[in-house]
């Protein structure tokens, strides 16, 4: 909770920076603030006091704290990475403030205990992102991205609200615990519009995490938005959306899982097939990463589908979020440095192995991790999903997952082949700011470290 407050306070401070003219030290202030938030978050973890706040609207239990931790870690790396892009931007302060508010919303999504907080969290997170996606004002694609994101996002929010309303109609409550009790006490006696509400919420959440067939906005938005904002969307936003998804469906609606699990199976299967097959024929790297994020979403959804309702599933999703976020930070960091002046095609990576070997090695690690090759974090993420799914009756989905991840390797390795095999058009060395290089190297090392000793993260939930 304290970490949450610190981040929202940071957002307000950032807005004041222009007025009180401390723009130049804003960046260190934010980074230190995030570190402080992380420290406070950690202290709550070691001495947990899970008091519900604001009339049982929000509660930081261990799950919330863990996901907040992941969000804060990625946010920390993101800000250092972003600084090189925003240093000379006259609107730096506005951007930072918006990002901080988006993170506030994201943290809220990890900890909601009430449907209203869920909705408010989603809106707080999304509205700054609509603006940020369109923040390259002179670029038509960026405008398109913002517009599309806004339309689709509002559409999803409408679904969400309608779903919440129907559920409220049936249960008479917004409170997750009361809904949970309602399901278990009224089994066999639940009105059909309650199920309609659940399905509508499922659709809305699938929009937010961009699972097929509700994924159409993602590639365009990822491509059009500034690269650094895309990085934010595929890490912090994804993690938060999954924390929310998990809390909603694995915990509150677990009792009616036979209603939503059938729909979710279709969504997972479609996501796996569509994302990997489409990604294989893309030439724009950001679009590829968008489709790859859809495929990773499908993997995380599989854990929710497995519905083991144990520490194992929570661990699996947490681990997946962390591995995916860290891998993405590396990948987007390199992408951001490589494509600073050019287009976003695979050709930009040509000859990177010679032009900047360090960057190329880090990118290789990130790609191996996203493809799920041992000994990287991404491998263990996939491993946990496989283990969870193996206990369910959806074993055929695993075969599909294996087949499509083999396809997935194709586009991840396209980058590696371009870096080491294809000759570069210009042989200039790629210069990257020291801070960005540090972030890229540290996240790449983290990817390997988590892959070597996954126990530290995987054993977080032993309560």
């Amino acid at each position: 909770m304290k970490g949450f407050l610190v981040i929202s306070l940071l957002g307000v401070i950032a807005m004041l920076a222009e007025v009180f003219k401390f723009k130049r030290i804003l960046m260190p202030v934010i980074v230190l603030g995030i570190l402080a938030a992380y420290a406070l978050n950690y202290m709550e973890w070691t001495h947990p006091f899970s008091i519900p706040y604001f009339d049982n609207m929000i509660s930081f239990d261990k799950i919330a704290l863990a996901f907040t931790g992941v969000i804060l870690i990625t946010a920390f790396f993101w800000f250092i990475l972003a600084h090189s892009s925003y240093e000379k931007d006259p609107h730096m302060v506005d951007h930072y403030a918006l990002v901080l508010f988006a993170i506030t919303g994201a943290i809220m999504l990890t900890a909601f205990t009430n449907m209203t907080t869920l909705f408010i969290g989603i809106e707080i997170m999304s509205i700054p992102l609509y603006v940020l996606a369109a923040s390259k004002k002179e670029n038509i694609q960026s405008n398109e991205a913002g517009f599309k994101y806004l339309i689709m996002g509002s559409f999803a929010s409408a679904f969400l609200l309608f779903g919440i309303a129907l559920i409220y109609g049936a249960t008479g409550s917004f409170d997750l615990k009361e809904i949970h009790t309602y399901i278990s006490t009224n089994a066999g006696n639940i009105p059909s519009f309650f199920y309609a509400g659940v399905v509508m919420m499922l659709i809305a959440m699938c929009f937010k995490i961009s699972a097929a067939p509700f994924h159409f906005w993602a590639p365009d938005v990822y491509q059009g938005a500034p690269t650094i904002i895309t990085a934010l969307m595929s890490t912090v936003v994804k993690t938060a959306a999954f924390a929310a998804f998990m809390r909603l469906f694995m915990i509150s609606f677990a009792g009616v899982s036979d209603v939503w699990s059938h729909i979710l199976v279709v969504a997972v299967a479609l996501s796996l097939v569509i994302s990997n097959l489409t990604a294989a024929v893309q030439s724009n790297v950001k679009r590829v990463l968008a489709y790859s994020s859809i495929s990773h979403a499908a993997f995380m959804l599989m854990v929710i589908l497995a519905n083991v309702r144990s520490n194992l599933s929570v661990n699996a999703i947490l681990f997946y979020s962390l591995a995916y976020s860290i891998g993405s930070i590396t990948a987007f960091g390199v992408l951001n440095s490589v494509t600073k002046y050019g287009k976003e095609s695979f050709d930009e990576f040509n000859g990177l192995g010679k032009r900047n070997p360090l960057l190329a090695v880090c990118m290789t690690i990130a790609m191996l991790s996203l493809a799920g090759i041992p000994i990287t974090a991404g491998f263990f993420a996939k491993y946990f999903v496989f283990t969870a799914m193996m206990t369910t009756s959806y074993k055929w989905l695993l075969i599909l997952a294996v087949l499509t991840s083999a396809v997935g390797v194709y586009y991840y390795f396209k980058v590696i082949i371009a870096m080491y095999f294809k000759p570069a058009e210009n042989h200039e060395a790629v210069k990257v700011e020291i801070a960005s290089t540090l972030v890229i190297v540290i996240t790449a090392l983290l990817t390997v470290a988590i892959g070597l000793v996954p126990g530290y993260v995987a054993e977080m939930f032993t309560f």
Partner: protein
């Protein structure tokens, strides 16, 4: 301790070589790989006392909550393959001395890294660890092929990578299934090999069949056997010679080793039901590979197909699950590893001296370099499996083992000997005998490093041909234990 050292040492060696500068890298790599060979000889010496059960055990916790341990150990079966690996790697490094590779330190570092993974595969006593090493072996060889390979390497190495990854993911699914099931047997989920074996045995025929195919596909792709072989000829031809040697000499043995050590004891019912089909596939590969080898024009491609045929026979022998079949498989794995390295080196020497590997364009080299002709002849005869060469006892036992399974299958498997003689003798004739042709006027004498490698290989071919007991003694007790476990 020694077991851990055998894995850690090549890792450290690889890191050292990565940091080396210029030409020093190759000498350093050679020196370190020779030390590794010496270490494995020490292990052999220690193992001699009681080779039946796993010796030189090392067991550390890796991920406690998942029951994953860093458990390694050596029994007779793994010992032979470790010896093969550590014996071949110095030879492979030495054989590269006449090829100037760009960024030598990375090249040799990757070879040593791969050695680490291979030794790990052969030593793993934990299913998860086995999988991790299995995958790890793939990454260095991928980069070796991608960075130093020949034409179309990006496409071909990519196919190779995806193909094998695809197989191993299925293996992972199979292993996870066994792991989840081990809960009911061991009381806790465990990755230890013995628990996985018990877990597999407790399954019904139906599940065992499913697990058999999930895991078998991974091994079948790696070896490779028909119809999973399509990646192999192109990759062998495109890879740099040393990469091909690693692939066919050692890496193909990962598949046969996995079949023997992991699949055979885990799903006896599955093998009873589907072993016949798998043997059929293996033998189809033997004949198919031999026939294609006969019509090849490129010598390196010919060896690639012959390698495919040889491995198919090994797999058939293992799947027959007889003492002779397994013993023959062990002998043949060693023999094929040594011979394949020799043959690929010969292809490389031919290419370096004449600029071509096409059999039609070569000829009459014997009259220009008699020594080379003799060394080539010995290696070729080893590959043909002439008595008193190392190829013979293995092939004999393998066919014997297959015969006990089915006389019909053995009849077809026996064709491999005849067909092998056809393509090997024919290529020898085309390259070494006959008319001199202009393209290679100056074949010249062999370089010192090449000569040394060829002589060592020829010595091994003759030595193990005359006295195969040196090898069978190492593996026999372990095979006996394995068979007792199955029955």
């Amino acid at each position: 301790m020694l077991a851990g050292l055998l894995i850690v040492f090549p890792l450290l060696a690889a890191l050292l070589v990565f940091m080396a500068k210029g030409k020093g890298a190759r000498n350093l790599a050679l020196g370190l790989s020779v030390i590794q060979f010496a270490l494995s000889l020490v292990a052999l010496f220690q193992l001699k006392h009681n080779p039946g059960s796993h010796q030189l055990l090392l067991n550390c916790t890796w991920i406690k909550s998942l029951g994953i341990n860093f458990a390694v150990g050596i029994d007779g079966i793994s010992m032979l393959l470790i010896l093969l690996t550590t014996f071949l790697v110095p030879l492979i490094i030495l054989s590269s001395f006449k090829n100037d590779y760009e960024k030598e330190n990375i090249f040799y570092g990757l070879i040593l890294l791969m050695q680490m993974a291979l030794v790990g595969v052969f030593m793993a006593n934990d299913g998860f660890l086995f999988y991790v090493f299995w995958e790890l072996a793939l990454i260095p060889i991928y980069f070796i092929c991608l960075m130093w390979g020949g034409e179309h390497r990006a496409k071909i190495t990519f196919k190779f990578f995806v193909y094998t990854l695809f197989g191993s993911l299925f293996m992972l699914l199979g292993l996870i299934y066994l792991y989840n099931n081990s809960m009911s047997i061991a009381g806790t989920k465990s990755w230890a090999i013995q628990d996985l074996i018990n877990s597999g045995r407790s399954l019904g025929e139906h599940q065992q069949s499913a697990v058999f195919w999930l895991i078998f596909i991974a091994f079948a792709i790696k070896m490779p056997i028909f119809p999973f072989h399509t990646w192999q000829p192109d990759t062998y031809v495109t890879a740099p010679t040393q990469g091909t040697m690693m692939l066919s000499g050692i890496m193909a043995k990962m598949g046969t080793f996995g079949l023997l050590k992991w699949l055979l004891p885990i799903v006896p019912l599955g093998i009873e039901k589907w072993g016949g089909v798998a043997i059929g596939l293996s033998i189809t590969g033997v004949i198919y590979g031999s026939c294609i080898a006969i019509v090849q024009k490129d010598y390196k491609r010919l060896i690639a197909y012959s390698s495919f045929a040889h491995v198919g026979l090994i797999s058939a022998g293992i799947l027959s699950a007889t003492a002779q079949g397994l013993q023959g498989a062990m002998l043949q794995m060693v023999a094929h590893g040594i011979n394949a390295v020799g043959l690929f080196l010969i292809a490389d020497i031919l290419f370096r001296h004449t600029g071509t590997r096409e059999i039609e364009k070569l000829g009459g080299i014997r009259s220009m370099n008699g020594n080379f002709a003799v060394l080539f002849l010995i290696i070729m005869l080893g590959a043909v499996a002439l008595p008193l060469t190392n190829g013979f006892p293995g092939e004999f036992l393998l066919i014997n083992g297959v015969f006990q399974f089915s006389a019909m299958a053995a009849a077809f498997a026996g064709l491999s000997v005849i067909l092998g003689a056809v393509y090997m003798l024919r290529s020898y004739q085309g390259i070494m005998l006959g008319e001199r042709k202009d393209t290679h006027n100056a074949f010249g004498s062999l370089d010192g490093s090449d000569k040394a490698v060829l002589i060592i290989i020829c010595a091994a071919i003759v030595a193990f041909g005359v006295y195969p007991k040196a090898l069978t003694d190492i593996a026999e007790p372990a095979i006996k234990t394995l068979l007792e476990n199955i029955k």
